[in-house]
């Protein structure tokens, strides 16, 4: 059982480049989340989705976009990367039907130079 798979694990971008962080879960969870974590800080919610075709902004959505065309996939798109987007990104899915427990991907460390 793969759980939540997040790619890539590491990436270096130049200012102004774009990229997509991929996130896939195989647990049929409706709720999925993207967080960023800056050094020494807590998690900040970027976007979330309560099911296929439905997405909503979190606390820090500027500079990002998401889509949820299937239950399994929840990619995060960075357009026109900026140094302020240097962070570790975590994708998670939630077992909302039963317990609300979160399942995390391993994280993606992004550096924008």
């Amino acid at each position: 059982n793969a759980g939540v798979t997040q790619t890539p694990k590491f990436r270096i971008l130049k200012i102004g480049q774009s990229m997509t962080l991929q996130c896939t879960q195989d647990m049929n969870h409706n709720y999925m989340y993207w967080y960023r974590q800056d050094p020494g800080m807590g998690l900040k919610l970027i976007y979330y989705s309560v099911g296929a075709g439905i997405t909503d902004k979190g606390e820090v959505p500027n500079g990002y976009n998401v889509s949820r065309s299937t239950t399994e996939d929840f990619p995060l798109r960075l357009e026109l990367a900026a140094p302020s987007q240097t962070s570790v990104y975590f994708c998670a899915s939630e077992n909302r039907v039963n317990t609300g427990e979160l399942f995390f991907g391993e994280g993606s460390r992004l550096t924008v130079l």
Binding site: G42, L45, E94, R96, E101
Partner: protein, 114 residues
């Protein structure tokens, strides 16, 4: 609406002494509550969860937490700290019967002194 407040951003204890990390919550629905731990440069790991069963919840590595509805609290405790407990701890509230995203606390950094 729901929210969670971790009352201490940093807690420092000596090895072998008790640990108390405090968490208060608010929720419009019957909440589920969680504690997650994050060791340096690692991902998040579930420590324990409360989902409307027993109010005293036991987790991994000797941690436990008690759900107190009257105090809207879910404090994390451990009788005796170990050096390996040094990490960041996050309290999380979810409302499975609602339609809102779960909410993370800002985290408490636990330091353990030899």
């Amino acid at each position: 609406a729901q929210s969670v407040t971790q009352l201490d951003s940093h807690v420092s204890v000596s090895e072998g002494t008790p640990v108390l990390l405090r968490c208060n919550y608010s929720s419009s629905y019957s909440p589920s509550l969680f504690w997650y731990v994050q060791h340096p440069n690692k991902g998040l790991q579930l420590l324990l969860k409360y989902t409307s069963a027993a109010t005293l919840v036991k987790g991994i590595n000797g941690f436990e937490a008690e759900f107190k509805k009257s105090e809207t609290s879910f404090h994390l405790t451990k009788p005796s700290a170990h050096m390996s407990d040094a990490a960041e701890y996050f309290c999380v509230v979810s409302s499975p019967s609602g339609n809102t995203p779960l909410v993370f606390g800002k985290g408490t950094r636990l330091s353990v002194i030899a």
